[in-house]
């Protein structure tokens, strides 16, 4: 149970971290209103979301045909494809490639798939210098942390904390003004882009019918990472595919509007292979790593719908639990509602992953904002059922549920326990409420009162009323 405590420790820590609370509140509030404005501005948002879901569902249903098509098209354009069944295979491919090509310095643009396989650690261990170039990623790399949000990795940091990092690591003159802070980061990163031998990126969508990969971003760092160095490696989860180029018309809109509230992201790059003969720009080599890492296992089961996800982060922003505890408390690579679904599936070895689906009030705000309408609450419930089946149950809870079931299936027991509770309340309650209850209900009364059962139940009162008539 020591691992169980770890999750609650992280929650406790997050709730008492004032900077985190400030940062989360500022950022999620802004994200929510931006998204609401951008989605609200569409006259046909519902239709667009239905289309987006249909496009993603089609892609998942035809992965067996679309992935080879994508790979063939990438290769036809002079690119290389690595089929990585897990993180180990993906890491080995990238490290061996970098070694074979004499790479020393690597720049990276944002990629959750690379987080998933702990690529930076592996590259650094193999002796390469790796620099994250997305501003948020750069900040947390300086801080030695992991992303706490799918699209805003440094969402947990306040401007003041970022300033401290830049002063310490980049020699910035102390300031909390944003423009000079960005100038400082830009100057440091510009050098790295020019030095780098290899650029590593993620992929927002792989387009099967053309062999292009799509990367959306707002800073231009992904465009630099994928064009300046002589080698570009893109890492793509195998589910992040669409069948046709024309599908992007829908997908790019719902992604940008759901993620940041933009009509489109500032930069949308469609990359099809390395520079061709005679072209002045672009890398000499292009490698696409198709990462399975547990996805094909999810595909056939009850959680297949989670693979529709386009990683917009809207469910994180909307989630009152995420708003309260932030991303790190979840303990997995992905956080928030979609993280609570994915982490137990993708990182089954994390001992407290099974607790994540329980850290939800099932309010449904996630599903409400999801651009592809993933039934997140239903899958959280499914995870809970799976945890029970696997015996991952708190013994007190198990006992409580057994008592509940016995009570609710036997009217005589139900009536007797109701009477007992009312008797108890007559002696222990004050002013119609309990201020303290015995364990485990003491957890309720720590910060809340609990209503004392009144002298008669509804059904008793109802029966009396009907007798009088």
């Amino acid at each position: 149970m020591s691992q169980t405590i770890a999750f609650y420790d992280r929650v406790d820590h997050a709730l008492h971290d004032n900077s985190l609370q400030t940062a989360l509140q500022r950022a999620t509030t802004r994200f929510i209103s931006n998204r609401a404005g951008a989605i609200g501005a569409l006259s046909d948002a519902d239709r667009l979301r239905d289309q987006a879901r249909a496009i993603r569902a089609y892609a998942l249903a035809h992965l067996d045909e679309l992935l080879p098509k994508l790979a063939a098209n990438v290769e036809a354009r002079g690119g290389h494809v690595c089929w990585a069944s897990d993180g180990e295979e993906a890491r080995r491919y990238i490290i061996e490639l970098a070694q074979a090509r004499g790479v020393r310095s690597i720049v990276k643009s944002k990629s959750m798939a690379s987080e998933e396989i702990h690529l930076n650690e592996a590259l650094e261990h193999a002796g390469f210098e790796v620099v994250e170039t997305d501003l948020g990623e750069y900040i947390i790399q300086l801080a030695g942390e992991t992303p706490s949000h799918i699209i805003a990795p440094a969402i947990h940091k306040t401007r003041e904390q970022v300033s401290e990092l830049f002063v310490k690591h980049l020699g910035m003159t102390p300031t909390t003004e944003v423009p000079p802070m960005i100038r400082t980061a830009r100057q440091a990163l510009r050098q790295r882009f020019l030095q780098a031998d290899m650029g590593i990126s993620g992929v927002n969508f792989g387009v099967a019918d053309s062999g292009a990969i799509v990367i959306v971003e707002n800073e231009g760092n992904a465009r630099l990472s994928t064009t300046v160095p002589r080698i570009h490696v893109a890492i793509m989860g195998i589910e992040r595919i669409v069948a046709r180029m024309i599908d992007l018309g829908v997908m790019l809109q719902v992604l940008a509007r759901s993620a940041t509230g933009q009509k489109l992201s500032v930069y949308t790059s469609l990359i099809s292979g390395p520079a061709r003969p005679g072209e002045a720009d672009g890398p000499e080599e292009f490698h696409l790593v198709l990462l399975d890492n547990g996805r094909s296992r999810i595909l056939g089961g009850h959680y297949a719908e989670s693979l529709l996800c386009i990683r917009c982060g809207a469910c994180l922003n909307a989630c009152p639990v995420y708003q309260a505890i932030g991303g790190h408390a979840y303990g997995g690579v992905y956080s928030g509602p979609i993280g609570a679904i994915l982490t137990p599936l993708l990182q089954p070895d994390l001992p407290d992953a099974y607790l994540l689906p329980q850290a939800s009030s099932l309010c449904g705000a996630c599903q409400e904002v999801c651009p592809v309408r993933i039934a997140i609450p239903d899958m959280l419930l499914r995870h809970r059922a799976d945890a029970v089946k696997a015996g991952k149950v708190n013994p007190i809870e198990k006992l409580a549920i057994a008592g509940y079931t016995m009570t609710m299936t036997h009217p005589a027991i139900y009536n007797a326990s109701g009477k007992a509770a009312r008797f108890f309340s007559r002696i222990a309650a004050r002013k119609g409420r309990f201020r303290h209850l015995p364990p485990p209900l003491h957890l309720w009364t720590k910060q809340r009162d609990f209503p004392a059962p009144p002298p008669k139940s509804f059904r008793e009162l109802w029966a009396e009323r009907n007798k009088q008539r």
Binding site: V11, S361, L381, V388, G418
Partner: protein, 247 residues
């Protein structure tokens, strides 16, 4: 006032039965006042949501199976709870999928209603003849809001309460943090969510916080009372049936 010859089962839910009997009486009163003969099956106890939400599907199956049996052939079923109504309408499908009761669950889902929904959408009521002199604000309980699409009905009914000033609750669609066992198992997160709800309620300076689910009401009232805040939490049915005293 309509005088149809309807009959409906009032499924008062286990929490209403044990903790909030006046909510059950108010719901019955409202139905009868609008021409519905109310039936309260004595052995109808619980919809099974607590076990289902905790992942104990066999337990939920046993509890919900009883409800399903008792409600068979009974006509309209009305619950003063969006959450329990959503359990029957939305989750019984999954609970009883691939069982001999799938058909019965499907059939029941089509005649199950949350109270405000039944009053407004089925009975066509908007004015229940209620009066309350004071300020009222309304919290949308999540399951009614997102799984049954409710909210407009309660507001329409409240807007007809004579003497009441109905003011919007900032973040009225944000969860109060109850979430069943979540409220105890994740006590810290639950109460952090409650803190935000209480701050929003305080900002309205309302006399009454009204909601359609006694579970949210328990959470919110528990916080209001612990902090000695002046706002009282009441179920919509109590307000509509004139069972709330002015203070």
């Amino acid at each position: 006032m309509t005088t149809s010859h309807r009959r409906a089962v009032l499924f008062a839910t286990c929490i209403v039965d044990q903790l909030y009997p006046t909510v059950g009486l108010a719901a019955a009163e409202l139905l009868e006042r609008h021409g519905v003969a109310v039936d309260v099956p004595p052995d109808l106890l619980c919809c099974g949501q607590m076990a289902f939400n905790a992942g104990f599907r066999d337990d939920a199956y046993a509890v919900a199976g009883r409800a399903l049996e008792i409600l068979r052939g009974k006509g309209d079923v009305v619950l003063p709870s969006g959450s329990c109504a959503a359990m029957i309408r939305h989750l019984y499908h999954e609970l009883f999928a691939n069982t001999p009761f799938a058909g019965a669950a499907e059939e029941l889902s089509h005649r199950t209603y949350e109270l405000s929904e039944y009053l407004v959408d089925v009975l066509g009521v908007d004015d229940t003849g209620a009066h309350f002199s004071g300020r009222i604000t309304y919290h949308d309980a999540c399951h009614g809001l997102r799984f049954l699409g409710l909210g407009a009905q309660a507001r329409a009914l409240l807007n007809h309460v004579q003497g009441a000033e109905v003011v919007p609750l900032p973040g009225c669609d944000q969860c109060c943090g109850f979430g069943g066992l979540f409220a105890v198992k994740q006590e810290q997160i639950s109460t952090a969510m409650l803190d935000r709800k209480l701050a929003a309620i305080e900002s309205t300076k309302a006399d009454l916080l009204v909601t359609g689910d006694v579970s949210c009401m328990t959470q919110i009232a528990g916080g209001l009372s612990r902090r000695n805040l002046p706002t009282r939490a009441r179920h919509l049915a109590e307000v509509l049936a004139n069972m709330v005293d002015a203070r």
